[in-house]
Symmetry: C2
Subunit: 210 residues, 2 copies
């Protein structure tokens, strides 16, 4: 049921047990920090079996990474292939998609950010491979600007800000809990209402009249 979001629980093959374990460890520790032995323990199997199914650490990692990345292209695409694109709906779809997926995989951004710095070309390759097309988003935003629906600025910059607003609170979450949201109920509220507040915040920034 949750397969799209990274848990392969339903199909209890050995491969999927390993992938689930590897995902947990890689997300917690990053590539360099992760240990094959720890992944094996997490999966409850012998370490050699990891190499039997996925030749090397690098290949196991790439498997996780590929899978995770496909999940970062959320419910956005449907909004992009309409014949009449509605910017407001598009923005809402981006926010909603990111917020949902980040709630289920809060470690994903750190993972991705770590990899962006380890090997940016590889990450770019995986994005293209996952059929994620930021250009579609850019042109849609540009069109809305030309139509006078939103304020004019570099559409790429606008997209970065939109995604950044979705992702950043999750990336810094452990710190926020200790510095700003000492009462954990507050943080829960913040997260729960984020779709709405964020859309309001962003739509004011880009000059959407509601």
């Amino acid at each position: 049921m949750d397969k799209l979001y990274g848990a392969n629980n339903q199909d209890n093959t050995q491969e999927n047990i390993i992938l689930d374990a590897a995902r947990k460890v890689f997300m917690r520790k990053g590539f360099d920090g992760a240990r094959m032995q720890e992944i094996a323990n997490e999966a409850g199997i012998n370490k050699a079996l990891l190499h039997y199914y996925f030749r090397s650490k690098e290949q196991l990692f790439q498997n996780i990474f590929r899978q995770s990345f496909r999940n970062l292209w959320p419910t956005i695409e449907p909004e992009l292939v309409r014949e009449k694109i509605d910017v407001r709906l598009l923005i809402k779809a981006v926010i909603s998609g990111y917020v949902d997926i980040l709630e289920k995989m809060p470690y994903l951004p750190n993972f991705v950010i770590g990899e962006i710095n380890r090997d940016p070309e590889k990450v770019a390759g995986l994005i293209k491979e996952a059929a994620i097309k930021p250009d579609l988003l850019i042109t849609a935003i540009k069109k809305a600007m030309d139509d006078g629906l939103i304020i004019k600025m570099d559409p790429r910059e606008m997209l970065i800000y939109l995604i950044g607003l979705c992702v950043f609170p999750v990336v810094t979450r452990p710190l926020l809990g200790q510095l700003l949201y000492k009462n954990s109920d507050d943080y829960q509220k913040f997260i729960a209402n984020r779709k709405e507040t964020l859309y309001n915040f962003f739509s004011r920034a880009v000059g959407i009249k509601n």
Copy 2:
């Protein structure tokens, strides 16, 4: 001259040569990815000397981390101790401080984000130790809300968004270069004008009338 921003070049003691080398390597590779040998090579000295001056990898790392963190509290404080705080100036100071410091230390956020996940309590401890007081910012923002100068929302959320907008483009920089800013001149322009665009963007979002 650059000491505040992390380069200890002026004081050419062996300690500082090591610290400069270590900073480079740690920022590039993260804690787990960094190798003591690589740091020694970068500093042009014997590896054992690292342990002579800084007992262990962990201690060397903490030194860098402490130092770096102090630098993340930029030109903001002066704006906070005025008797009449001007929100617009405050926001400009935050943006300006972050943009400046990130231009000189673009690897810092990845470094910090990595550590936030490795050991959030330690990071929180270092922030307090560096006399960084987010509470001051929060109350200043809250005051501006009560005075009707900016839109009402959770001031903590607003602060997170502000910092996120500054930091996120830098965190994803290597990827942006490959996906959105294939022409590197474009990226330069984006970065160069960022203080202005970002302030305009943010001030619209929070409802500042200019």
